[in-house]
């Protein structure tokens, strides 16, 4: 028990307490923190309009990106299960995007979806569709990132696939004999059997998405057209018009670009509380859903 406690103390408890303490201070990493009481929280909740926008952006991703990824992974894995042959081949093909480094994948997507020179709008134009500005439009930048997210669902797909293969075949046979159609078999057999895995995907997906950073940062930087500027990559975060500025990006900029490390810690504490609360709620709902069996 003792080594585990040391690990928890050093890597979890200490940073957590430090973050809470710093969140009540004016701290710039360079001078001794100065206690300012609730100053940072007041600014966060009553004055910082960018924080509100960043929180809404992150909420948008949680509400859209997480279900979209789960749905895409579920559909892909169900398709793979139903394949009579070539399953191994397609499994590899669908899994491959998950191996692409997020930075490289994001850069590739921004180029593919470039409104003027990218192949996606070129193909759309063949059908008479005037493609949107994708990563360069405040309305389309987030949906573009969702497309990127649903392309790389290999990680979730293999988990869903394993769970699908675990569903006892006799259940389907019995249901078929009772006259259940495909939809009824899906709702009454597949979904309940998958529920622990779906729950896992939802909880980890929400936590990951609350920390959504890399793809949004890279997409903004590349789409803004000044990807290697000497001014530091963080100057392009949020492009266009802060539409991709997620909460963790705002946190980073506050701490490391504007030297408001105390304020960044306040942002982090709030993020921690939200992630904690969301996880608790999800777990409770899940227990209710499964009748407390698990």
């Amino acid at each position: 028990m003792a080594p585990a406690l040391i690990g928890i103390g050093v890597f979890f408890l200490y940073p957590l307490l430090a973050a809470v303490y710093f969140s009540f201070t004016r701290f710039d990493l360079l001078t001794v923190p100065e206690w300012v009481g609730l100053r940072n929280y007041t600014y966060l909740f009553t004055q910082d309009s960018v924080a509100g926008k960043a929180a809404l952006n992150t909420l948008w991703f949680v509400v859209i990106l997480v279900p979209a990824r789960m749905l895409a992974a579920l559909l892909t894995s169900m398709l793979l299960v139903s394949l009579k042959r070539g399953g191994g081949f397609f499994r590899t093909i669908f899994y491959l995007p998950a191996l692409a480094p997020p930075v490289a994948a994001t850069i590739a997507f921004v180029f593919l979806f470039n409104p003027a020179t990218g192949p996606v709008n070129e193909v759309l134009s063949w059908f008479g569709v005037d493609g949107p500005l994708w990563f360069d439009s405040p309305d389309w930048s987030k949906p573009s990132l969702v497309l990127l997210g649903t392309w790389a669902v290999g990680d979730l797909m293999v988990i869903f696939l394993a769970a699908l293969l675990d569903v006892p075949k006799p259940l389907y046979e019995a249901a078929s004999i009772d006259g259940a159609n495909a939809w009824q078999r899906f709702v009454h057999i597949t979904l309940p059997s998958l529920s622990p895995v779906l729950m896992f995907a939802a909880v980890t997906g929400v936590i990951q998405t609350l920390q959504y950073f890399t793809q949004a940062a890279v997409a903004a930087s590349v789409a803004s057209g000044t990807a290697t500027t000497g001014g530091g990559i963080s100057s392009t975060f949020g492009y266009p018009e802060n539409s991709t500025l997620t909460y963790p990006l705002h946190l980073y900029v506050s701490g490391f670009r504007y030297y408001d490390m105390g304020y960044a810690n306040a942002l982090a504490v709030v993020l921690f509380l939200v992630a904690f609360a969301v996880t608790l709620v999800l777990l409770r709902r899940f227990r209710a859903f499964t009748g407390g069996a698990r």
Partner: protein, 438 residues
Amino acid sequence: MPRRPLTLAAAAVLLLAACTPGTETADDVAPAGQEAKGSIEFWHFFTDREAKAIDDAIAKFENAHPDIDVNVTAGQDDAKMLQAISSGKGPDVGLSYSTDIVGKFCSSGAWRDLTPYIERDKVDLDQFPETVRSYTSYHDRRCAMPFLADVYGLYYNKTLLAQAGYTAPPKTMTELADMAKKLTKRAPDGTIEVAGYVPLLNFYENTPQHIVPGWDAKWLTADEKSAIGTDPQWAAMLKWHKDLVDWYGYDNLQKFTAGLGDEWSADNAFHKGKIAMSVDGEYRVAFLTDQAPDVDFGTAPLPVADDQADRYGAGFVTGNIAGISANSKNPEAAWALIEYLTTETDSIVGLSNAIKNVPTTADALASPDLQVDEKFKVFLDIFEHPETSTTPPNASGPKYVEMAQEYVNGYLSGANKDPASGLKDLDTRIDQALELGR
């Protein structure tokens, strides 16, 4: 068992005190005439070709100071330097690309006050223009010395201008707008093929920071509050841009700029003749010579507002800056390096010739060894113009500049409608944000 977590918590709280930084230093300065020695760490942000030029300069410094050994680390950005200094480590001498850090590094003591060294060695600060002196100190604490400067002006494609019947660049904003319209070429479906001038303010070097000197618009008041909402020049600047953006169509411009090459690549739109006129720094001369030798271009000062014709020739200046870390174990040798790099004429001229940035001292500017052609000369003249300005240093770094930029982008896209109330609201938000970091 319940006691253990409590003990851990108590230990953690104690550790907090141990892990917070202290950058207070005693500025012990050696008496004059004593030769510095020992080894120092030097971090800079340059890479590749430019890093090589720095290495050459350091080699010359070591020849001149055989007792000092400099360990150079290239490619270090400000965030890394900040983290290193805060953890009690980091370089003796840091070279930053941005004056954004001056406010924080000076006021926090992360970089030492250089005044005792400057006074001891009788360094004449008047050899730097006043604006340069202003962006290297904060609240009378001089913690940085200017290394080389970046100066912004207007680049124009002579071939495209000649095709439209122009022989000279625009001098006023009205001329710029008129020429931009005439130089723009569109496809039959309205798509922009060549833009006379891109009036978006988040495109390449086209930012509020670089363009407001054309209107003489002020950023901060003397007591470091936002001046944006009360300075009428801001509203004039916004209107000029909005009119031109609307003439192009915001979506047309977005689509056009999205299809252009990255600013720092050989596909830069000005290199490719896709833009007839563009705001950029003096370093673009070297990029164009290197990557697009066929482009026939000229350089000129930024156009000015119509009623400020007498200010034509002024522009925006910023620069690289060097300082001594609070953690430096050998500040004397660190100062020797900074003094050499920032005041020694031969060194400055050599570096300026190598990486085509503007030298900062009067002697270097006048040096016969400085390689100057007519295109580069334009930037030297802007640099020396008494009305050339910069963004004032602040303890919150570039926060106020970026908040203004965010507002301006929203205004040009049509998301922010009423500029009168919008700018007033921006003032309030900037003041609150700066108060947070005070």
